[in-house]
């Protein structure tokens, strides 16, 4: 347990870098700019287009990708823990702690993206808008956790964690469709939860369960592939 906390603290320190702050800031600015453009082009449906497009389309996956890359020190998952592992700490538990921190941070940022999009592209404040915001927030948080687990697993593939890029490409490539392949990546399920095209005609509750299952499987596989 102590090792997991140590991994979490270690990851927290790594994520406190200026580069990470800059990345998150740029992502927020992009979300705000694109949401503003959507609204100025056509006010009707601007919020939906912003959420489908910039927030869930690339801001959340890219944030998860960057954060997981950072906790892996741009290498394979848990390779960055060697300075601690040499003193008897388990890489697996260190990895678990760091993935936990990555999940929480990505979820917080994702919720922030949702509210920024809501504030910029949404219409005047109303209970309806607030409800949309709350719904989108939990979907964003769930998506963030799923993406972190997804990229954590792919970070354990390849000598230097190059599998992360495969994960990103697969998500973008397969997630656009509605076939069986789409049901294997987070993007299609998030789109379904937002009210878009479902993968394999799955219901929204099924997609939520799928996302949770996908996160659990990816996390378990990622930790299993890390050397103890």
């Amino acid at each position: 347990m102590n090792t997991t906390v140590l991994g979490a603290r270690y990851a927290g320190e790594q994520l406190r870098s200026r580069l990470m702050g800059l990345g998150a800031g740029l992502m927020l600015a992009s979300v705000a700019c694109i949401a503003h453009l959507e609204r100025s082009e056509l006010a009707s449906g601007a919020l939906d287009r912003s959420l489908f497009g910039v927030v869930f389309g690339w801001a959340i996956p890219l944030t998860a990708f960057l954060i997981v890359s950072d906790i892996c020190s741009q290498r394979r998952l848990a390779f960055g823990f060697d300075p601690l592992a040499r003193f008897g700490h388990s890489r697996r538990w260190l990895g678990a702690g760091s993935i936990g921190v990555a999940g929480v941070l990505t979820a917080l940022l994702s919720v922030l993206y949702v509210w920024v999009a809501l504030g910029v592209a949404g219409s005047a404040p109303s209970p309806q808008l607030l409800g949309d915001g709350l719904t989108s927030s939990w979907i964003a948080a769930l998506g963030a956790v799923a993406y972190v687990a997804w990229f954590a697993f792919w970070s354990s593939v390849g000598q230097n964690g190059g599998g992360r890029f495969v994960g990103l490409i697969l998500d973008w490539g397969l997630g656009l469709g509605s076939t069986f392949g789409a049901s294997m990546v987070p993007r299609a399920h998030l789109r379904n939860l937002l009210g878009g095209l479902p993968p394999m005609t799955l219901g929204q509750s099924s997609s939520s369960a799928f996302l949770l299952g996908l996160s659990a499987v990816c996390l378990a596989l990622a930790l299993w592939r890390v050397d103890p």
């Binding site: 102590n2 592992a85 040499r86 003193f87 008897g88 050397d227």
Partner: protein
């Protein structure tokens, strides 16, 4: 008794390194840094061999975190510990049984860093980082192995002497593997000597006398069943400049000398393989010559 065993370990640039050691000091003299650094990383459990196996008390250091907690290591490239203050970073990094206030103070005192305890770890110099890593390694509770890269390469003679004394004491009960490029340090450490060339090939064990006082003609005495045949095979080897054989108490001995001790050992190995000789022992020629009585006849 602690037992370290490397069997046919490959991990670039190491090529098929095999080594077995119990308690005592094993000194590996390296031609260049990369193979030595990799060997220490492997022993520390930071790298996994691509082929072959490393076993310490039957466990792989890479796969066993609990075992790594009992390894004292000094790497070729010591990175700063993560943390805002040195003592805090130590307390966080070290395994729970070492991370007590007393142990941390003792480690810092041994590394001459007690006054730097509130410093940021990244502000330590290269030598200070090495001193700290060595102090941690020497403080390892019930160590199962010490794997140290250049453990005596420190600018202060007093610190060097202190380290040497600690290593000699620890080597009585623990395998201590030291990697060094300095033959002076190698001879000071003593124990069993090996040579690791820049291609990552380990040769040895080499008698310590050959390193202490290199002879113009170094060589080996090979005890075997058929000395005449082996001597004939050795005489055709270019690395062997002088070869003689004799029999003592029904024991065949071949003496092979040459300018390069490695080339001679290589020549003996290939001659033994070619002739299929049954070799009982290989010893330093110099050591046996020293032991001989003056004037003892030889055929």
């Amino acid at each position: 008794m602690r037992q370290l065993e490397l069997s046919n370990v490959w991990c670039a640039p190491l090529q098929g390194v095999s080594l077995r050691a119990g308690s005592g000091c094993v000194v590996i003299v390296v031609e260049s840094e990369p193979p030595g650094a990799m060997l220490i990383n492997l022993l520390a459990g930071l790298k996994c061999p691509t082929r072959g196996a490393i076993r310490l008390d039957g466990q792989s250091p890479h796969q066993a975190p609990a075992l790594r907690g009992h390894l004292g290591t000094l790497l070729a490239n010591e990175e700063p510990l993560a943390g805002a203050r040195l003592d805090e970073a130590l307390g966080r990094t070290l395994a729970p049984h070492l991370a007590t206030v007393v142990a941390i103070s003792a480690i810092l005192a041994n590394a001459d860093l007690l006054e730097e305890r509130s410093k940021h770890p990244t502000l330590l110099s290269y030598e200070q980082r090495r001193k700290l890593a060595l102090a941690i390694a020497l403080a390892t509770p019930s160590p199962k192995l010490l794997a140290l890269f250049e453990p005596l390469m420190f600018s202060e003679p007093a610190f060097r002497e202190q380290v040497l004394a600690s290593l000699v004491e620890l080597a009585e009960s623990t395998p201590v593997v030291c990697v060094t490029a300095s033959t002076r340090d190698a001879t000071a450490l003593g124990g069993t000597l090996y040579f690791l060339n820049s291609l990552g090939v380990l040769r040895g064990p080499v008698p310590v006398d050959e390193v202490r006082e290199p002879q113009p003609k170094a060589g080996f005495l090979v005890e075997c069943d058929d000395p005449a045949r082996l001597a004939q095979a050795l005489s055709t080897q270019p690395a062997v400049s002088d070869v003689r054989w004799f029999e003592e108490h029904a024991l065949g001995i071949v003496e092979a000398l040459g300018a390069d001790i490695f080339a001679v050992s290589q020549a003996i190995a290939s001659a033994v393989l070619d002739t299929g000789s049954n070799v009982r022992a290989v010893r330093s020629a110099r050591r046996l010559r020293d032991a001989e009585q003056p004037g003892e006849p030889r055929p």
